[in-house]
């Protein structure tokens, strides 16, 4: 039951979202017309050997000349992307900037990604409200006063300067981000085929999203993020214990409502997902095989894409930490350290999955952030993705619900913000000092890369601890409500 001003308010908010979303699109299109002035595509922060559009154009050109697109170590992306974007790179419109069509595709990808984030936010929020209701936790704020996390996350994604820079920098990262978001959105909505498609494509494009299978499985199995499962069990048994004397119809009702609660793991959905994942991967591999039939086939593709990612062959500087390390390390130890660095990501998967299994979407955010920290060719596009996902948890992380204690609260938000701004301003200057002025050296640039990595670690640690604090707070609330209910 909402009063009229509230409905009006909601409508206004909706309108605001569309206005700001479309404004961001217009802003991008205006900036597309200054490609020379910005020259973003040559920045190592924006385009990596995997995502650079110029490399893709080169690969397309090679393929048109009946040479393997992977010849000469220029292109390292997917053959599907080559067939999709390749023809657009050569098409030039008179009087328009180069790559206009590709840029428009990237703008579209950003916008669609933002809409998907918004939808994900809606799914998450409804599910979360339902579980809080089930637990009988009365939030301090009504449903209408909680922040619309989906809208916020979508706008954060659209207006994040890093997203804008990635979109304008002629890099294929917007498409990679889009499929990752598609996976999460599909999984949140419980659409196994969609989630499987997103996951297969994301893995195919950039390999690292393969670890997202754990959050996706949890999402499809348990449903979207909810308070810890223990609370539901306590609630159930507490209630059942109390209600032993009361009439049966109530008890029955209780049980049926708990069935849709996050207690229940739906294996059907998982099998559904796995089946579709197999189907999609066979389909993708088939298409790739056809596309690369004369140029070495699938083995060549795996070697030149996944092999290139895993072996860190290109040591040109980027905002990650691996290039510096592998430029320094002796050839003899290279294999060992390659394993160490990649296992680093894998080591973190299981503990996090156990600790955060009731919040699969948040778990996906943590995975994306960690892999963007440790991946071999990171760019600001990865940061754009995880910062956008971070916006989905604004209610939990900003201490909106537990306003009194601010237990779940990111203490260092201002510090992190300043750090990110500082690093992203300093990084091009250091690069200039090293490469163009010659007065600095590689350590100058690497210093910003390592600072960036530190800030990312702080961000992950802070957000995870804020989320866990939020869980603790919920437990407190739930126990107090249970006991009060029991006493009454």
């Amino acid at each position: 039951t909402m009063s009229d001003p509230e409905i009006l308010n909601k409508k206004n908010k909706k309108l605001d979202f569309w206005i700001w979303g479309i404004a961001s699109i217009i802003f991008r299109i205006i900036l597309i017309y200054f490609p020379k002035n910005l020259n973003l595509s040559s920045r190592p922060e924006v385009s990596t050997p995997l995502t650079n559009l110029r490399r893709l154009a080169e690969g397309y050109w090679l393929k048109q000349s009946s040479i393997s697109p992977y010849a000469g170590s220029m292109y390292h992306g997917s053959p599907l992307l080559l067939s999709m974007l390749g023809p657009l790179t050569v098409k030039k419109i008179e009087g328009q900037p180069n790559n206009l069509l590709c840029s428009l595709i990237f703008v579209n990808a950003d916008f669609v990604a933002a809409l998907l984030i918004r939808a994900t936010g809606h799914y998450l929020q409804t599910a979360y409200d339902r579980s809080l209701e089930l637990l009988g936790i009365s939030t301090p704020l009504g449903r209408s006063e909680a922040l619309p996390s989906g809208e916020i996350a979508a706008l954060v994604y659209l207006w994040n300067p890093l997203t804008i820079v990635t979109c304008l920098g002629s890099s294929t990262a917007p498409i990679e981000n889009l499929v990752v978001i598609l996976t999460l959105c599909g999984a949140c909505a419980g659409l196994a085929p969609l989630a499987a498609f997103g996951w297969v494509m994301a893995t195919h494009f950039s390999l690292y999203p393969v670890i997202l299978i754990i959050p996706v499985v949890l999402l499809l199995g348990f449903g979207p993020d909810a308070p810890p499962r223990k609370l539901f069990i306590q609630k159930k048994f507490g209630k059942v214990g109390m209600d032993l004397s009361s009439d049966k119809s109530l008890k029955h009702k209780e049980v049926t409502t708990l069935r849709v609660s996050p207690m229940h793991f739906s294996w059907v959905n998982i099998f559904h997902f796995l089946f579709w994942a197999c189907l999609w991967s066979i389909y993708v591999l088939l298409l790739c095989g056809i596309s690369l039939k004369d140029y070495g086939g699938l083995s060549e593709m795996f070697r030149r894409t996944y092999g290139f990612i895993l072996c860190v062959e290109d040591l040109s500087p980027n905002i990650g930490v691996l290039w510096y390390f592998f430029a320094e390390v002796f050839e003899f130890f290279r294999g060992f350290f390659l394993i160490v660095f990649h296992v680093n990501i894998l080591f973190m998967i299981l503990p996090l999955a156990i600790r955060l299994n009731h919040r699969p979407c948040f778990l996906a955010f943590v995975y994306v952030a960690i892999s963007s920290m440790l991946k071999s060719y990171p760019s600001v596009g990865d940061a754009a993705l995880y910062l956008g996902l971070l916006g989905l948890f604004v209610n939990e992380l900003a201490g909106k619900l537990d306003i009194l204690t601010n237990a779940g609260d990111m203490h260092f938000s201002f510090f992190l913000f300043c750090g990110y701004v500082g690093v992203f301003l300093l990084s091009p200057v250091m690069h200039n000092l090293w490469i163009w002025r010659g007065t600095g050296n590689a350590n100058f640039y690497f210093a910003t890369a390592i600072t960036y990595a530190c800030f990312q670690i702080i961000l992950v640690v802070e957000s995870v601890s804020a989320m866990l604090n939020h869980d603790r707070f919920l437990r407190k609330l739930s126990t107090t409500t249970t006991t009060t209910a029991g006493i009454s």
Partner: protein, 713 residues
Amino acid sequence: MAAIEPLKARKRPIARLGVFVISHSLIVSVICCIAAILALLLLPVLAKNTYISENALMPGSANTMLSSEEVSEADRFMKDVNALSLESVDAGIKIAKLIAQYMADLGAEVCYHKFHHQQNQFNPLHFFSIPDPVVVQRNISCLSFGVNTVGVIRAPRGDGKEAIVLVTPYNSSGMDAAEASSLGIGYSIFSLLSQVTWLAKDIIWLAADSRFGVYAPVAAWLKDYHTPLFSGLGQVNAEVCHESNDLLKLNDAMVSNRNISNIFTRSGTMAAALVIKVVDRHDEADKDTLSIFAEASNGQMPNLDLINIVNYLAVHRQGLRVKVEKFFSLLDSKFLNLVGETVELLGKVAKSLNPNWRFGIPVAEYVEGTATLASSLFNQALGVPTGPHGAFRDYQVDAITLEISPKGSLKNKDQRIDFLMRGGRLVEAVVRSVNNLLEKFHQSFFLYLLTSPSKFVSVGIYMIAFALLIAPLPIVAASLYSDANRRDSSLRNEGSSQPHVFADEPTPTLKSWRWLHAAKSVFIIHFWGSLVTLLPHFISKMPNGTPTSSLIIWLSLCTLSLFLLYMISGSPFSHATASQPQEWAVLKSVTVSAAFIGLCLMSVINFATAEIGALLIVPMCLVAYPLKLDLQDWSFRALIRAACNLTLVLISFPPATFYLFKGGIEGFKSVNAGDFWNWLETLWAWNSATYLYIGMVHLPCWVSCVNILLHPC
């Protein structure tokens, strides 16, 4: 309630130290600022003697070979040039032809380089990008052109992949004896080097036609050198200018000699460049004087080794007196003399305590060092190159200008020959030393300040002063921010005695995200700053603008746009309500953080600008406090603080700073209102990062501080 609050666990020592520093931010910032100023004053004491870092250079290891034969030949060449320049007013092309003829007779490959005079373009993103070679040349007036003459000696022991450049600027429309003798020195070296067998790097002699200033021809030649254009001299500018003048015809006539071609001659990458300039000061001295100019654009310096070898050879081999620029007005400053005396006294005391402690320096040396250091800082901070050597630095070539002034008159033949001999031998020794280089200069420092030709302060030392100066900024920001949050939550806890009655809560605020609003207003001010930075470009396009009127237009547009932006997006005060008691503190915290980031960034781009800017901004940001609160308080301390705030804000306003500085150096009578505009125009015409700093860091921080002062709390 108490149980919900997180347990105050024992924190780790480093966290406790951080908390301690943040809670004592006032005293920490006072100590840091005083220490920073002391460290700045002590820099001349901490300066180290220069040393030649690269072993391969081996300066002075071989005897100079320049003999009286080459010098008398050069003297004859000078006479011919002088005669030609006296003969007709506009002898430009004839002189170029003469120089080319002489070069060709020595067996060098010669070519002409024609360039058009071009107004300096404002390019705000220049710093972050490479010099763009394919920029379409606009604003060219086809009739004003100059002709450089370039001669290349191929090294008998080299592979043509490296070169050393000698530049002798001369004004083709009206040459004087000094310019002729710089050509003479160039010629004497060139004739010697065309015969020697030890050359491993090609020698390029660029006789630069400096009728449009000494910088333009060198910059134009370097640009064409690094831009592969596969066409002859006539076609280079053919798309832009139709060759209506008779240069092409002349060109054909000029290319009579086999060695002279109209194709742009190139050699390899440049190892070093020397700009040789002769200045006749007409003052009697006991020695020839050599002034070294090294500052390139944005405070970049050539490798210190280049200055070292020139200084070493000039002092120890040729017996010249070597100078670098200094502020003469500082030499008789009472304050500096006082500081110098204290330093000397301290040094003596320290030495009497322990003879191994030797840090004291004499007063005269201290004052001289400070004057040189100040000039070095100032020139770097301006970001405008001090000579044609600046053009080389844009292509990562180490270059300096050697300005030689003779002790006697250049009219006297014996003295002239003597002078040519000494100058020539110096350049020859430097060339020979650079010729030994195996790699490009990399061994010694790039980031340094000179306190005398043989003393320098390296980056590791001068950064201390800067780091101390900006260290209070993050501490104060953190302390303000945490204070504001603490007060906020204590207020809220008092207000709600019953934790479960949520309805009584005031409008919920996101405690840890409340900085967002302040960040928004600071961002808007910085956005305004970047708009304002672009405005002068458009104002300068307006016809018949005097500097004063342009300045007034600029200032009024600045104010107007600021108020417009406030109207559109809400002023920083719109959020100040009762529920946000510490709003101004959060605003100040964000302002201080922005200043910190801006200063850090600038210290990497151009240290000197950041240092001078920090001296102005840091006190202003640290002291800023709402005037309203001060006036309500009406205590002695509050009034002092308000007075300090007003003075600092007045001083730090960029035009005010400029007029005060200029008045302090040249006397207030000579200061015009339009000077500031002219100065700004110079900065942007030279693409100085200082201009961007003023517009995008200093001015916005100033506006933010004014906002804090006027905050309605």
